[in-house]
Subunit: 463 residues, 2 copies
Amino acid sequence: MTLQLGADEALLLLTALRRDLPAAALSTGARAAPYATDRSGSHPDGVPLAVVHAANADHVRTTLRHAHALRVPVVPRGAGTGLSGGANAGVGTVVLDLSRMNRILDLDPHDQIAVVEPGVITAELDRAAGEFGLRYAPDPASAAISTVGGNIATNAGGLRCAKYGVTRDAVLGLDAVLADGTPIRTGRRTVKGVTGYDLTALLTGSEGTLGVITTATVRLRPVPEATATVAAYFDTFAEGAEAMAELTAARLEPSMAELLDGPVLGAVDEAQGTGLRSRGGALLLLQCDGRSAAAEAEAELAVRLLRDRATSVETTSDPVEAERLLAARRLALPSLERLGRVLIEDIAVPRSQLAAAVREITAIAERHDVRIFTFAHAADGNLHPILVLDPASPDISNAAWQAAGDIFTAALRLGGTLTGEHGVGTLKRRWLADELGPEQHALQQRIKTAFDPHHILNPGKAL
Amino acid sequence: MTLQLGADEALLLLTALRRDLPAAALSTGARAAPYATDRSGSHPDGVPLAVVHAANADHVRTTLRHAHALRVPVVPRGAGTGLSGGANAGVGTVVLDLSRMNRILDLDPHDQIAVVEPGVITAELDRAAGEFGLRYAPDPASAAISTVGGNIATNAGGLRCAKYGVTRDAVLGLDAVLADGTPIRTGRRTVKGVTGYDLTALLTGSEGTLGVITTATVRLRPVPEATATVAAYFDTFAEGAEAMAELTAARLEPSMAELLDGPVLGAVDEAQGTGLRSRGGALLLLQCDGRSAAAEAEAELAVRLLRDRATSVETTSDPVEAERLLAARRLALPSLERLGRVLIEDIAVPRSQLAAAVREITAIAERHDVRIFTFAHAADGNLHPILVLDPASPDISNAAWQAAGDIFTAALRLGGTLTGEHGVGTLKRRWLADELGPEQHALQQRIKTAFDPHHILNPGKAL
């Protein structure tokens, strides 16, 4: 459902934007080209008509008002670090670049909230909160390069969300601009509130298809007093997954639980010269946090439970040593990117189905003769099977699409979802209706229309 | 915006329901009368046309299909414990009573989720989870008598939501029936997932105006190893509020923080023969939980911080002693109900504004010569100012409405909200647009229409 854009509308829109926006806020031609893609590895059909570098909410309103009147599609964009094609912008679209709206407007340590523009880098908000002993809990792996607005658009997860929740759980209120340029303010500065429908939650994860966020009020939380780190190696990924299930059954609530399979360890070794693969076929990295005594007690319990199944277990409460243990996780994706073109999947399954999901993925890789490397946010049941494809081939092969499709089907069969935290974007749209069912899919389209009657906002994404 | 119902439609609907539902599922006349009101103290204009006691989702679908075709308003109802008139059902309405759909369909300790019908009593779900060392975290004060479905409809809060979140944070997925009888399934059994718009969150807190919940998949969490309880008395409520702000600034995260004012303590004394009021003008009840060492460390820190401001502080980790300390909070509302007819307000303000809110409430009580008693979920900034009115008067006096209006205005001025956890219902509708603003209000109406084109679901409530 791509809007058909005539040359007249394009010309009229450019004329209006040139008239109503500062010259520095508009890029066209070759200067617009870098804004055509995100980090999904997929490519749209060309270069966008123009990029608006919004400096404030008025620029957003002006852009949308004109685009709405002329029925020109608009693609909102943060830092372009998305992994599902949600910010891809093809021919005839206007990119609304929000990365220059990057001020922290308020950071209130008494109310433990921050009010930020959408282009603030997530890690920078976390750092600013840290000056008051607070933190912004959502921590997608991209936190150092992605924006708070982009994280809200995809309802990003991260490493510590098993204990501290996903982005939605941290967002209290939003200023957003609807497709026709109308500003709304949802939610509030309070931690509780139930007046009206929860449009804050509805906008969160809507991938830029319902409105454009211009300010977000987010909740901050105290930095835990202590964090203890545990690293355990296993013979197989399935054994690691079963060990994780045992920790959950023992009612442990780790703040982080990352599980890497043998091929990922091998890829890290190859890229970094480490010797992880020789220590086991899977690595489970756990963190427990809280008051010092609690973090240590939880880590000790974890070690006791893991000892029988693991080939080795080590633990530390020293931050430098912890960073060394965590390096394997941080280096996993960059190491895989050296091996070929990566297609990053993002299924989530009920926590007890983690081992079953891994068995399915292994069988799918063999069936389609595709290389799949897997790491997981194990306490959430959120797996990232990463297909590594031939870098020489410009298109994603049929075998890769079939493998991806089989992974999604397996996730749904296990009671799970297509996407735990990356979003649907363009890459997962063909399987969307399978998960939602036709009735809910139709309802979601009606909700879309209530926000954006001409469907100008990020058409062809998410829904 | 009440639907005008003709006698023909009423007769046609009753005929259809009698034909398509078992006789035991339908009450009319005097047997329908007890289903006209909730616990808000407000009354609709008469008795509903009929009550459908749904035993399963098919009964819900059948009822809605006919009501939709005939444009008859339907009022979904759990246990009728709501405090804002959300389940009030007047002349010409059909009540859809879900209290008989009260089975726990699944309780999976490995995935730490439960799948329940909407009529399950909240405390019973919590008790069932307790057999596996788990709990259902949302704990509204009504947990022993209210239902999970009703809690979801209002996005109920409770005592421990400062640390563990509100109902929305515990709901992973829903089966719901739309106004025309179409069933949808939202969300999933996984703790994370971002496919499509978050209709689970949108239905949560929608007060029965968007759909009727027939199954809920909810998250369970481990019961903390230990809980420590602290009780501190202060000369004034404002001093208690300031002490709470100091605890928050020290980055303490209590699992419960209830603050009662002097008049409430006096009412409890009068009803129960206790001597609380003689000990101070305000009582702060705190609980800290987690691993044993952590709960104790947090409680010790709280005592250290409170000691300078409080007139007395006591602490315990003994459950029986804790129950004694908590009795004052549990008995507060029943004690007030002995003094007159209560109108329970539910504002929330940014946490730092708690003391300011109390000052406003005191001034409002004096200005309108209305008796107002206040207790608060202090860590959330959620206050319950309770207007105690002359029990002899059938209507709420103008002075009481004016006082309520001034309380809402003060909450909004302080950056807060009309309702932290009870919902808008009928009682707060006249102030709703002030909080939402006209643009968001119009958008919410369009969303309502996307779910319920003829506006048959709980008309005149929430929006």
